[in-house]
């Protein structure tokens, strides 16, 4: 690379010189930056994972606190100004029976204002699972948040949808990560073996991949997930679902890894390393892996949305995570009944984070894939 500066002689500008001495990762970052959508996607993904970390802090109500008296309460708006001054508050809500239809109706009382406080104390939790705390982003004065704030309404059992969505984000996004990690392990192992050794190993692994890819996945997942014992704990089911999803998810990653291995095997620098007497493991991990690491990262990002959708689908069917676990799919279960949704349309809201997350991961992955090869045109 340094040679380029010399041959360019007096004609190289400062910008060109900067490029010629930049490291590979710097070049990737510069290329990635140009891809606006990918940048936006990256930011959205970071926000999502911040929610994963701070779910307890962002939720203002205990996600399991149910109360039949508050069932299917519609979303409520925060009033930011009171008589021209910034004083956020919500109106107290009274539940009544409609005398004609006997349906429960909720009426906001503009006279009864409940002031909202930031960094207020609420239900107890452990931040990151370690630090005990009871501070929440939002809280109210005089009464509990469970009884007064319902930003996105409540579900049939009167649990606050916003708080549940925060907790659902945590489970849905980490289960995606766990499945991808497992798929990645299988994919790199089997794809690497396939690409590096070729021959019979390659043929066998490729046939397995083809067979797995030509089986319809959802019925198979349903069958496996339904066999999980009912008495298993949330954690056990969580890991079982992770394994079931990655059982088929690894094929795509294995394909990418194999392709890269096949291409790199013919490169001169691999030959050079071989001639210099490097061991096989050293060639793979010191010389080959760094040159396709960026591709792997891109492929992983593109594989994540599929994992998230798989978990959501399974949980939606009632075969994945089961209540009291909270995930996007579990939340959407309540939207299964279309009559219920027609009356309480906010139950469909968990669709929004799923779609936004999947889009963000796709854009980010597209950008990463383009940036993964910064020397191309």
């Amino acid at each position: 690379m340094a040679e380029a500066v010399v041959t360019g002689g007096a004609f190289t500008t400062a910008a060109e010189e900067r490029i010629s001495v930049a490291t590979q990762w710097q070049l990737m970052w510069w290329r990635f930056r140009k891809h606006r959508l990918a940048l936006v996607g990256g930011i959205v993904v970071i926000i999502f994972y911040l929610v994963v970390i701070g779910a307890d802090f962002l939720a203002y109500s205990d996600p399991h606190a149910s109360e039949a008296q508050r069932g299917l309460l519609p979303p409520q708006f925060i009033q930011f100004f009171d008589e021209g001054r910034f004083r956020p508050h919500v109106y107290a809500i009274k539940g009544k029976r409609d005398p004609v239809t006997f349906k429960r109706v909720y009426v906001a009382d503009p006279e009864d204002k409940i002031p909202i406080r930031f960094f207020a104390s609420g239900f107890e939790y452990r931040f990151l699972g370690i630090i005990p705390s009871n501070v929440h982003l939002l809280g109210v004065e005089g009464t509990t948040a469970e009884e007064s704030i319902f930003l996105l309404g409540t579900d049939t059992q009167g649990r606050d949808l916003f708080s549940r969505l925060m907790y659902g984000t945590r489970i849905s996004l980490t289960i995606g990560l766990a499945s991808v990690a497992l798929s990645l392990f299988l994919g790199i192992l089997l794809g690497g073996l396939s690409g590096f050794y070729g021959g019979a190993v390659d043929t066998v692994i490729q046939r397995i991949v083809e067979v797995l890819r030509s089986i319809p996945t959802i019925p198979l997942w349903m069958g496996l997930a339904a066999a999980l014992p009912r008495e298993w704990s949330i954690i056990q089911v969580y890991f079982a679902i992770t394994i079931i999803i990655s059982l088929i998810g690894w094929t795509e990653l294995a394909r990418v890894v194999r392709g890269k291995f096949l291409a790199l095997r013919e490169e001169d620098f691999v030959m050079a390393a071989e001639l210099a007497g490097c061991g096989r493991m050293r060639i793979i991990f010191v010389h080959m892996v760094p040159s396709f690491l960026s591709h792997i990262i891109a492929a992983t990002t593109l594989a994540l949305p599929a994992m998230i959708i798989s978990e959501t689908s399974l949980s939606f069917l009632g075969l994945g995570l089961r209540p009291p676990a909270i995930s996007w799919g579990v939340l959407l279960q309540q939207a299964q009944n279309i009559q219920a949704v027609a009356i309480s349309s906010w139950l469909l809201l968990p669709v929004v984070p799923v779609v936004v997350a999947v889009l963000a991961f796709n854009f980010l992955g597209d950008g990463l894939r383009d940036a993964a090869d910064p020397y191309g045109i």
């Binding site: 083809e210 030509s214 996945t217 959802i218 959708i309 075969l319 469909l348």
Partner: protein, 329 residues
């Protein structure tokens, strides 16, 4: 050419075998066996089965023998079209599935046809008019199609249908035809109900196909032979459709093999939301009730159906792409 067909056929056989193993595993997975579940069910209804009766049942189903014998027995019966009894329905499994497997096939096939019919012209249009308003609109719709899982799309469309049209847009038949025997009228009724599930199921695949088609055709259009064709006075349409589109079609066709399993898979969950009379709802019910013979059979039939579909699309691919026909020589 022949070697290509033989190879594909062998792969199909391998896949069917794998599917049968997996289906059998699904039958075997739940704790206890068919008979203990049956006894529990009988007890729940107030009938007590004696030890002798239970043992007889176990021998009937071969449950006293090692697993591989049970597997072979199950496969042997399955080949003859005997898939055992559905516990929950108390009827042979095939009776319960009935027309549903064909309706699943119909829905899936119409989704595939939808994907082709829509993706091909839009892909060509997006490539020729790159960066036009239409291109952007279709790219945007394509991204939405990729991001929204089909069952969520179904949920949202059901909701919109309910609120805006005040109608239930689910189902495959009108009420009067739901239980009627097959007739031309019923078929026509089915045809009228198919477009919506086809759209919902096909959208994600369509989005992907448009992207592939657009990228391939863009690559192709930049090649010198297209310029040469134009220079010799070929009309614009002809210079695009005659060769570039045909070349761009090849990778397009090769993804068909993966499209079909994907759509069949999606149809299961979409059927539940739209309450389509396919095997989807039966499968879910069977799994929840641990009616494993029924569930395993459905997974097996879906698998076999997909394998046949993939094989047919491979033959189609061979017909379109001369390079594959040459490969075997």
């Amino acid at each position: 050419m022949l070697s290509y067909i033989v190879r594909r056929l062998l792969l199909s056989v391998l896949t069917v075998w794998a599917v049968s193993m997996l289906s059998f595993a699904i039958i075997q997975l739940p704790p206890g066996d068919y008979v203990s579940a049956y006894i529990a069910q009988m007890q729940a209804m107030g009938t007590l089965l004696s030890e002798q009766e239970a043992a007889n049942l176990r021998i009937l189903y071969g449950l006293d023998q090692p697993v591989y014998v049970q597997y072979l027995k199950w496969v042997g019966l399955a080949v003859q079209g005997n898939f055992g009894m559905s516990m929950e329905w108390g009827r042979p499994v095939l009776d319960v599935i009935g027309d549903r497997i064909w309706l699943t096939l119909m829905v899936s096939l119409s989704a595939v046809v939808f994907t082709w019919i829509v993706a091909l012209p839009i892909g060509i249009y997006s490539a020729i008019r790159q960066y036009s308003l239409g291109d952007y609109v279709f790219t945007f719709i394509g991204f939405i199609g990729l991001a929204v899982p089909s069952f969520m799309l179904a949920l949202v469309l059901m909701y919109l249908g309910f609120v805006l049209l005040d109608a239930n847009i689910g189902g495959l038949f009108s009420v009067e035809y739901a239980d009627a025997a097959w007739s031309l009228d019923k078929l026509w009724d089915l045809m009228q109900h198919l477009p919506l599930p086809a759209l919902i199921l096909g959208l994600a695949g369509t989005a992907q196909m448009i992207r592939i088609m657009r990228a391939n055709l863009l690559d192709e259009l930049r090649k010198p032979y297209v310029v040469a064709a134009r220079a010799r006075g070929l009309s614009h349409t002809r210079s695009v459709l005659k060769y570039p589109v045909r070349v761009a079609l090849n990778p397009f066709a090769s993804t068909i093999g993966y499209l079909f399993p994907y759509i069949v898979s999606g149809s299961i969950i979409v059927s539940l939301v739209l309450s389509l009379p396919t095997v989807g709802p039966v499968l879910l019910k069977a799994l929840i009730a641990q009616d494993m013979f029924l569930a395993g059979t459905i997974v097996l039939l879906l698998g076999v159906m997909t394998v046949i579909g993939t094989f047919v699309s491979d033959l189609l691919l061979m017909w379109i792409d001369p390079r594959i026909r040459m490969e075997g020589r």
